[in-house]
């Protein structure tokens, strides 16, 4: 099996993507707390949901990238062989 090498640049980009997902989820939580007039401590107590939601966002984003960029990557790989 061929090893998949994540370059430092790629790692940084993935980390950044994950952070952006977390930030979006966090902001959504704040928005929800305000919109539903829920107690402010839910910003903290709902952090678990925020993390799970961020993970889902990241997975969706990754899936989307695979669908869009995957075929392009396969084609360029074949050409370079």
């Amino acid at each position: 099996m061929k090893e998949i090498i994540l370059t430092p640049k790629r790692q940084k980009r993935e980390l950044l993507t994950l952070l952006v997902c977390l930030a979006i989820a966090f902001c959504l939580n704040i928005y929800a707390v305000v919109a539903y007039e829920s107690p402010a401590w839910e910003i903290i107590t709902s952090l678990g949901y925020v993390v799970v939601f961020a993970a889902v966002l990241y997975a969706l984003w990754t899936g989307l990238r695979l669908i869009v960029l995957g075929p392009r990557w396969l084609i360029t790989r074949k050409k370079t062989k």
């Binding site: 939580n29 709902s46 949901y49 925020v50 939601f53």
Partner: protein, 430 residues
């Protein structure tokens, strides 16, 4: 109750009832324990009449109570006496309860004989100057119950009945909450007691069938109504703080067709002055739902047997989940296959809260007995205890009567007693 002296506050704390709001109003009989400190050196000399299955269970509690000496037993069945003597080997034994009543060394008696024998024994006991703890249902007829209560008033003897829920911490707490209005207006109580068992006992010889299986025969019992309903109907009136005005019901022998004469399947409806209803049902061919009294108010429900309560409105989900839920709904509801416009009203998942932090160790029986012993020692009848037992018995007998007559019966005014807790609504009916 233990051998150390405790005051009422400590007693309530031990039960997990500290801080309960209106206990003095809801369960005033708990004041029976107010004198425990002063009675520590005193003892109650008890006689047990009918130390059968229930009688021996009660003896088990009583022998733990340092203020009790079980000094005498009376029973007409030798195997019962032999088993009871294992618990109290030094007790005197009488074959005739009347001889026990003549014994000056007996202060009080516990009556745990079959239903049809309670009344005469209790009347004789009070006449003989003994305090009486009589198992429920107290009388075989409403007339009997009335004469027992009247005798208690005439003689001034202490009179307790085997309505142990009155001392069950779960029930005391539940009633405290109901009476504080935490569950809103209680309009409906569903009480039921189901089991999957024939209720039969093994009989050593056929001639003893009716004596041993007295519960199954009309001459000695009124079946499920007097054996089970009595407890739960009392819970209903305790919760609503009033007596029903009318009752109707049906009974049948639908499964255990084994020669018994009492019903194995019963449903009754008791209706109150302000439209409230209490149903009581029992089917002894299926135990899935077990027993419960579901006390239902517009703000919530209590199930004291489970020791739980449930509010109608539960805290909303965290805002974040509500937001996600809204998005999900807006996606699916806009699709044409989203489903019908009605939703079945199946019960929502609501795990509720426990009435008391932990499950109480006992069901009130030992406390009921302990209160009786205190009352007998101090000579002070706790408020409302005899009356609750009286009306509980009356209600189950009235339900039985309605079933037998196949008609709706009104609460008979001639059996009303002077009991302000329940009298007001009956007066408005007149």
């Amino acid at each position: 109750m233990t051998d150390t002296s405790i005051d009422r506050r400590e007693f309530l704390r031990e039960l997990g009832l500290a801080g309960a709001g209106v206990l003095a109003v809801t369960s005033p009989w708990l004041k029976a324990f107010a004198d425990v400190q002063h009675t520590n050196r005193e003892r109650c000399r008890l006689g047990i009449i009918g130390p059968g299955s229930r009688g021996r269970l009660l003896m088990g509690f009583l022998t733990q109570n340092p203020k009790v000496d079980i000094v005498a037993l009376a029973d007409i069945y030798q195997p019962s006496i032999d088993k009871a003597l294992e618990l109290v080997p030094r007790a005197k034994v009488y074959k005739d309860y009347r001889l026990l009543l003549e014994d000056k060394g007996v202060d009080a008696v516990v009556i745990a004989t079959p239903l049809n024998t309670h009344c005469q024994i209790a009347l004789d006991a009070m006449e003989a100057g003994k305090d009486v703890y009589c198992e429920k249902t107290i009388g075989y007829t409403m007339d009997e119950c009335f004469s027992m209560y009247a005798k208690h008033l005439d003689t001034g003897r202490i009179f307790f009945t085997g309505q142990q829920r009155l001392f069950d911490p779960r029930y005391i707490k539940a009633m405290d909450m109901v009476h504080q209005g935490m569950f809103g207006k209680v309009s409906c109580i569903h009480a039921f007691w189901n089991r999957n068992a024939d209720w039969r006992r093994e009989v050593p010889e056929p001639g003893l069938e009716k004596f041993i299986n007295w519960r199954l025969y009309k001459e000695s019992s009124k079946g499920l109504m007097t054996e089970l309903a009595c407890h739960q109907l009392q819970v209903g009136t305790w919760a609503l703080g009033k007596l029903p005005q009318k009752v109707m019901g049906h009974g049948s022998i639908s499964y255990w067709r084994d020669g018994r004469e009492v019903y194995d399947n019963i449903n009754c409806i008791y209706t109150f002055d302000d439209g409230e209803m209490m149903t009581w049902g029992s089917d002894i061919s299926n135990k899935f739902y077990g027993l419960e009294e579901q006390i239902m108010g517009n703000l919530g429900t209590i199930e004291p047997e489970k020791g739980k309560y449930y509010f109608e409105t539960i805290d909303p989900a965290p805002a974040f989940l509500q937001l996600l839920n809204k998005w999900e709904n807006s996606v699916f509801e806009s699709m044409p296959f989203a489903g019908t416009s009605w939703a079945p009203e199946t019960a929502r998942k609501n795990t509720g809260e426990y009435l008391l932090g932990k499950r109480p160790k006992e069901d009130g029986t030992s406390l009921n007995l302990a209160a009786f012993v205190e009352a007998s020692i101090t000579g002070r009848q706790p408020e409302r205890i005899a009356e609750e037992g009286y009306y509980a018995s009356l209600l189950c007998l009235l339900g039985h009567e309605a079933i037998e007559q196949g008609t709706m019966l009104e609460f008979p005014k001639e059996y009303m007693i002077d009991y302000p807790a329940y009298n007001t609504n009956m007066q408005t009916q007149q």
